[in-house]
């Protein structure tokens, strides 16, 4: 069972692709994870048990919005369903972003040009509408070089 205090508030206008994935706090998007109350391991998305120690005592924790790109690639072809495809497919970047002291999160990237992606690139969390599906919002990380 996930303890959910303090409750995360979802004030974003669009519909999250899944509830419990992210929220908006003080105007900034945050990913919703769970922290194990036995071993302190953090897991994203939140889940009711700890994959490390199997404890069923976990609490909701919001992840930090800043990280660095740990690895990446580009999705160059349209995935099959259940991917929510647009009429015309545009390649998108995919990567793992390391959030210091927390974990590495798998994510879409707002950048898909291989010449602009590199391991170690500073990244910041943002929200995107899935192309062709403006009613579906998901999380992504954007390059944030030179930002605080």
């Amino acid at each position: 069972m996930i303890r959910t205090d303090p409750p995360a508030r979802d004030t974003h206008d669009a519909t999250p692709l899944a509830s419990g994935l992210f929220c908006v706090l003080d105007g900034e998007p945050r990913l919703i994870a769970s922290r194990c109350e036995s071993c302190s391991e953090i897991t994203f998305p939140e889940q009711p048990s700890c994959p490390r120690c199997a404890s069923q005592s976990v609490a909701r924790e919001l992840l930090g919005p800043w990280g660095v790109l740990w690895t990446w690639t580009v999705q160059t072809f349209a995935p099959k369903p259940p991917f929510l495809a647009a009429d015309s497919f545009e390649p998108f970047g995919v990567g793992y972003v390391e959030l210091p002291g927390q974990l590495r999160v798998e994510t879409r990237l707002t950048e898909s040009d291989p010449t602009r992606l590199r391991i170690g690139l500073p990244m910041k969390l943002t929200l995107i509408d899935l192309p062709g599906h403006p009613q579906h919002t998901t999380y992504a990380f954007a390059p944030a070089e030179g930002q605080p």
């Binding site: 899944a18 580009v74 160059t76 995935p79 991917f83 974990l103 998901t138």
Partner: protein, 382 residues
Amino acid sequence: MTCDVAIVGVGKTSFGRHDDSAGLQLGVEAARAALADAGLQWSDVQLAVGGSMSAGNADASVSALGLTGLAFINVFNGCATGGSALTTASAMITSGAADVALAVGFDKHPRGAFDLDPQDWGLGQWYGQSGLMVAPQYFAMKIRRYMHDHGITERSLALVASKASRNGSLTPTAWRRTAMSVDDVTSSPMVCPPLTQFMFCAPGAGAAAVVLASRERAKTITRQPVWLRSVAQRTRQFGAFTVFSPSLPIEPGVETTTDAARAAFAQAGIGPEDVDVAQIQDTEAGAEIVHMAEVGLCEHGEQERLLLDGETDIGGRLPVNTDGGCIANGEPVGASGLRQVHEITLQLRGDAGPRQVPGDPTVGFTHVYGAPGVSACAVLSR
């Protein structure tokens, strides 16, 4: 050390597209070929284990093979399904439940990358809807980080794919049978950088089967048994960098492949240094490189030198994927693990024809890896 289980027969279909045959029928053909190789009848088989992802229930093949009433266990563990079939069949012989068992794997996939339902893999629908449930992404991200950490360059990726095509050209049942140069591979369309089209396997169709027998029974079947010295299957431990992981801990854990390989070598009493020929899961070129070190056949970062020196070629010190692996044969998920055992069996018998590893190889090794973090490894010997 004695070994309780022998491989006494192997069979397979050709690999590629089989537009005119159902996947289940391919499994039947492979089973019949393995029985013919062993000189046995279906009625001699007391127990069967089989699996596929997209081509139906393995036990339905009894309607073609014969309704003998035998025990027939269906298994599925993603790309590691063949390893699970082998693990189960071997354990059933060791337990005394059967003297003769058949392991069969087959598949027939639609064109293109796999379409997987996230919920079948313990993930939310959002994961697939947002475009993350695509296996090639994982392999590209894994090899990119590995190259960064261990000094491997893109040339190694092309060398692996070129070798696969060369070995495939020597394998009559392979799908891709045209030898390709490093330049051919590098200049093929980029799929998921740094991986190009010809560095990837493609989901296809095919089947493979092996007949296993107890030590005592094997003596009455063949004068050339290949001993299954060990087989071990493992699921992921915490921290393994595995396919379809929405998050990973920063502190890495033991890779699933490493777990399975260590167990298989320990159980066999044989070390990686003793292996003469190996079949390694090569979902794409990077996977062969990573897995070579994860199973213990080389050090991390040593692969580029081994490839440049041709050491993993058929005439090299440690031939890897002598039949062209998944890259040349495609990936019918249920079949690939047993195709590997088929190839090692031929190599250890000296029956591999133009791709025979010279020097009478004695010890062989197989490795599969599949979603969502499962691996099986086997050690075989003459």
